[in-house]
């Protein structure tokens, strides 16, 4: 797996995102892509439910988006990619951290007809830890392209301040860019530049926690857009002091122990650290699917 060049790091800092082509090899991505449908069908290898599970074939609206969070608890094959030390190291490089901890994962399945995902900042849902940094890694499990619900970024929007959480995340009734456009106005930006990615399986996009992003409707017949998202925070992170609960704690706030600010490695493992440390349970729980195979070194940049 290629290390980042200074130019790539500079691009990330300037644009708020960086696309690394062919970061993962097909043999690293395809087995995960093949498990997506069965996971949404409730086939959980470990018997543990993911932290979120929106859409299943029995109750779900045909053609609606499927989203699942912290599926690493449910499937060790998927966990082997979520807990990649190499990907964690890239996030640490981009964030300027000594080490990387996994805050959460998110698995997406958007079939033809799936509605838009409202533009948002991931930091809207992750502001209860300190240091309050966040690097998000978006892995294409399938191809993604304009017109088929690919991810789209608002260039430079990582410099805008964090907004309140959007009221309608899935299937919005307003334009899926409306919230972002209001934030742009607040930031003094008249014409936000929206870039829709065209990527292949194994391409990976890294983005800053404040980056505005979302996706349009999938209009491509017989095409299911699939992606896996990993949210990284600095290894040293802990919860901000809180009372009886973590206000706005979304999913991670569930795991804060009363009277203890630590982010327990049972729930938030450290995947890479400069001194070689890695949370011990990961060795027993799953392999690191990026530890051996090295993807093609091509690291063409996409703007």
């Amino acid at each position: 797996m290629a290390l980042l060049t200074p130019e790539q790091i500079e691009q990330f800092q300037g644009d708020g995102f960086l696309v690394v082509k062919n970061l993962l090899a097909p043999e690293q991505v395809e087995p995960i892509a093949d498990r997506v449908a069965s996971l949404f069908n409730g086939e959980f290898e470990t018997g543990v439910y993911p932290d979120e599970w929106y859409w299943n074939p029995r109750l779900g609206l045909p053609g609606a988006s499927g989203q699942m969070s912290n599926a690493w608890r449910s499937d060790r094959h998927l966990a082997a990619l979520v807990f990649s030390a190499q990907i964690g190291k890239i996030s640490a490089t981009l964030g300027g951290w000594d080490g990387t901890r996994v805050l959460s994962d998110s698995l997406w399945m958007k079939p033809c007809g799936a509605s838009e995902t409202t533009h948002h900042q991931d930091s809207m849902y992750c502001f209860y830890h300190t240091p309050q940094h966040l690097i998000v890694c978006w892995i294409a499990l399938s191809a993604a392209m304009p017109g088929a619900s690919t991810i789209e970024y608002v260039k430079g929007s990582h410099r805008w301040v964090r907004s309140q959480a959007v009221p309608e995340f899935h299937a919005p009734t307003k334009s899926y860019r409306w919230e972002m456009e209001q934030a742009a106005k607040r930031a003094g930006v008249d014409q936000p530049e929206v870039l829709q990615l065209t990527v292949q399986p194994g391409d990976v996009a890294f983005h800053h926690g404040h980056m505005w992003h979302g996706s349009g409707k999938n209009l491509r017949p017989d095409f299911v857009r699939r992606s896996l998202v990993i949210t990284h925070i600095p290894a040293e992170a802990q919860f901000k002091p809180a009372g009886a609960y973590v206000e706005g704690g979304y999913l991670p706030g569930r795991y804060k122990r009363f009277g203890d600010d630590a982010m327990d490695e049972s729930f938030f493992p450290i995947v890479w650290q400069q001194n070689g440390y890695r949370t011990p349970f990961l060795t027993d729980y799953c392999q690191d699917s990026t530890a051996q195979a090295v993807a093609a070194q091509a690291v063409a940049l996409v703007r």
Binding site: G47, W53, R58, L61, F258
Partner: protein, 305 residues
């Protein structure tokens, strides 16, 4: 509603179960109380549920399980949410009620009660069936794997609303109940029941399926091994209910790899089989102990003093 607003005393009066009621629970596996929660408590809690399904969480923390999310689910899908106490402290004031924990513990013959889960089930018109199952199947990663559930009607529930169906005495059957997803089965929702009866040597003609009709505020206590499920809602009314399950105070996690983790073993810390009181607070003991987290987090909507 803020936490401060639920500190006013409700009209709830402490419930003293008679020895006949306890005996009925032991023999039948369930106990119905037509009058349990006062109307103001029912209204206060029920008013909190629809906002949760609109992603309006008072605490900003999401639930442990959520089915029937608007925009992603079929219009008639059952709206079920578990771990609502994390999202809303008014709901938590019922979920963490010492009184419900006391009654569950008394029926279970336990010396104290620890919170396991809360779950609401909102079944709109034409909501699908829920497959027959045993609640103990879903706590199999806990030792002891036994849960007592207080299932409360939040509106008047009639048999044709897809109400709870129970099989008296089935808590004594010697049979298996493989873990399964219970919503909208693509098979006869009673099929697991018939298979269990056959395994237990019970003739189908001897299996009594009893539909529970309850007025708002009524409740039924369920033994963890009681077979139960529910049919399709064939009315124009939404069936609204909330269930609160507790396990014995001394419960711990089973050894790793024993049982199905479901939504519970997420909270298991490495190398530790304790059920941390931050996640599974102790709600009632005879000497009055309650976990510090529960005391700090919310009031008790059935507070008696």
């Amino acid at each position: 509603m803020t936490n401060a607003m639920i500190t006013s005393r409700s009209s709830y009066l402490p419930m003293q179960l008679s020895s006949a009621q306890i005996q009925q629970f032991q023999q039948q596996g369930f106990l119905v109380l037509d009058a349990f929660l006062p109307p103001e408590v029912v209204t206060t809690v029920d008013d909190r549920l629809d906002p949760l399904f609109a992603t309006r969480f008072e605490t900003g923390i999401y639930p442990d399980e959520w089915h029937g999310r608007p925009g992603l689910s079929q219009p008639n899908a059952t709206r079920q949410m578990a771990g609502m106490w994390r999202c809303d402290r008014t709901v938590a004031s019922l979920s963490f009620s010492a009184e419900i924990a006391r009654l569950n513990a008394q029926l279970g013959g336990w010396s104290g009660a620890r919170f396991a889960m809360d779950s609401c089930w909102l079944k709109p018109p034409n909501a699908p069936e829920v497959a027959f199952h045993r609640n103990n199947t879903y706590v199999s990663c806990i030792d002891p794997a036994t849960v007592i559930t207080c299932w409360i009607a939040l509106n008047d529930i009639t048999p044709d609303m897809g109400t709870l169906e129970v099989v008296p005495g089935s808590h004594r059957w010697q049979c298996a109940d493989p873990f399964k997803f219970v919503h909208a089965p693509d098979y006869d929702y009673r099929q697991p029941l018939w298979e269990a009866a056959q395994q237990a040597g019970v003739e189908p003609t001897q299996v009594e399926v009893k539909a529970i009709a309850l007025p708002a505020g009524g409740c039924v206590f369920l033994h963890g091994d009681l077979w139960h499920g529910s049919g399709r809602n064939r009315t124009e009314q939404t069936r609204r209910s909330i269930a609160i399950g507790t396990v014995p105070q001394a419960a711990r996690f089973q050894p790793p790899e024993v049982g199905v983790g479901y939504i519970f073993s997420r909270y298991r810390r490495l190398g530790d089989d304790a059920m941390d009181e931050s996640f599974f607070p102790i709600l009632w003991t005879p000497d009055g102990y309650r976990s510090a987290m529960a005391i700090a987090y919310c009031g008790d909507i059935l507070t008696l003093e």
